[in-house]
Symmetry: C2
Subunit: 230 residues, 2 copies
DNA sequence: AATATTATTATGTATGCACATAATAATGAA
DNA sequence: TTCATTATTATGTGCATACATAATAATATT
């Protein structure tokens, strides 16, 4: 009665599915029948099944009933972390340094991404993230000053650009891509690796409600890995 | 009455949060008050707030009430795709080729990962994934034959190892890492790129209920990108 | 003052009921 | 046979109510 039965029911059903008691694609008993089996109300079974549906374990259709998902999706979720947290997670001391900061006309690829007019300027920043004073990641970023005017006043000596933006625009959306690139001369120099080293690149563009905020390329130093579970 | 009010309420509350009407960390009205405002039952508000809590937008505490999350988490979710689907998504024709298949004693790093005894053999496979007959990704994999004995009978001429395993063990768990590596001589050869090219590497180990199934390294060809949203 | 005990409070959960809705099956008309 | 109409069914949702639970506040005890 009190042992949060919707969770227990969810668990039980999940076990039946994972053990193969109910095959992939198979129709499972309806809510009413399950409610009777578990000796609870249909509402409770409903909640358990809804949870499984949200997780992609089952598919539910009105009148069609509930069946085990044919192709259980394997998704890896991971946080887009703040670099400082990544560094500190390794036990190292974090520091960041603004290497370059200027207002200038961005290349077309960037002005397109930020939805800027042809002659509009944007803020360009280069920053180096350090772990125990050793280069950890190198960031090349464009910011749309119209979206966050107060950025002009910020020095970024105590807080990184990313952290400042997250505080200013906490609920932005974004596109991200992950890839591997060979370090060119400039980046190799900044990260203190040999030219051509394989670097993990995160390329991200974020916006809030139609207003584009920033686009950046973040090059992680050699040997960096992103971990996740599925 | 019929316009799925819990969704509407969730939306409305989300807007108030995103617009800054309720600040980060701020306590929002309790369920009863909101129910009165929206003219609905507390149950309905509860459902909306529970959804927001699951998304990491708000934090809820008994007696403490509900408050906007201080650091809204930025997580990128993406599917660990089947390579065939990745290839076909680009419009290319997929084919895969088993380059090597043998049963042998794995190195310690692998026997540890697969929880094998010191002298136990495992199945080693190398496969090349092709997009329009051009190398797309190169896979080096160890499989624990004890976990999936039927694998001995499978030729993998119509289905890839990964797809076969997904069908055989649909609900496995796993650890994944993503990184960038320079192509060594063998891999450069397999993917037909110059040695030292930056490759995107996915390293994955999967198991089902304490029984370790497979561990693999998947090297994507140069220029490959993983896309996601946040 | 420090500690243990007892309210108080907002969320968490379960229930029975009613009705809405989408997908299907059954039926009828052309 | 073909198409449109009408049940039927399982899920989807909302509500009022009751009680459980965790965290806090208030109180009493040492």
């Amino acid at each position: 009665m009190n042992a949060i039965s919707h969770k227990i029911i969810r668990e039980t059903l999940l076990e039946r599915i994972q053990s193969g008691e109910w095959e992939l694609g198979e129709l499972i008993p309806n809510e009413e029948e399950l409610a009777e089996e578990f000796g609870c109300a249909r509402t409770t079974v409903n909640r358990a099944l809804r949870a499984l549906a949200e997780e992609g374990i089952v598919i539910r259709k009105r009148k069609g009933g509930t069946r085990v998902c044919e192709l259980p999706k394997r998704e890896a979720k991971f946080e887009i972390p703040i670099v400082r947290q990544q560094v500190e997670a390794t036990g190292a001391v974090y520091r960041h340094k603004i290497v370059c900061r200027e207002s200038k006309k961005p290349p077309i690829s960037v002005s397109t991404r930020l939805h800027l007019g042809a002659d509009e300027k944007a803020l360009y920043l280069e920053a180096l993230h350090l772990a125990d004073e050793r280069p950890f990641a190198f960031e090349m970023r464009w910011v749309n000053p119209a979206a966050v005017p107060h950025i002009e006043e910020e020095k970024f000596d105590t807080i990184s650009v990313n952290e400042w933006l997250i505080k200013s625009v906490p609920f932005s959306s974004g596109d991200v891509s992950f890839s591997a690139v060979n370090a060119d001369c400039d980046i190799a120099d900044a990260l203190d690796v040999t030219e051509g080293s394989a670097l993990f690149l995160v390329d991200r563009t974020t916006w809030y409600d139609q207003s584009f905020i920033t686009t950046l390329k973040l090059y992680y130093n050699q040997g960096f890995k992103f971990y996740s579970k599925l």
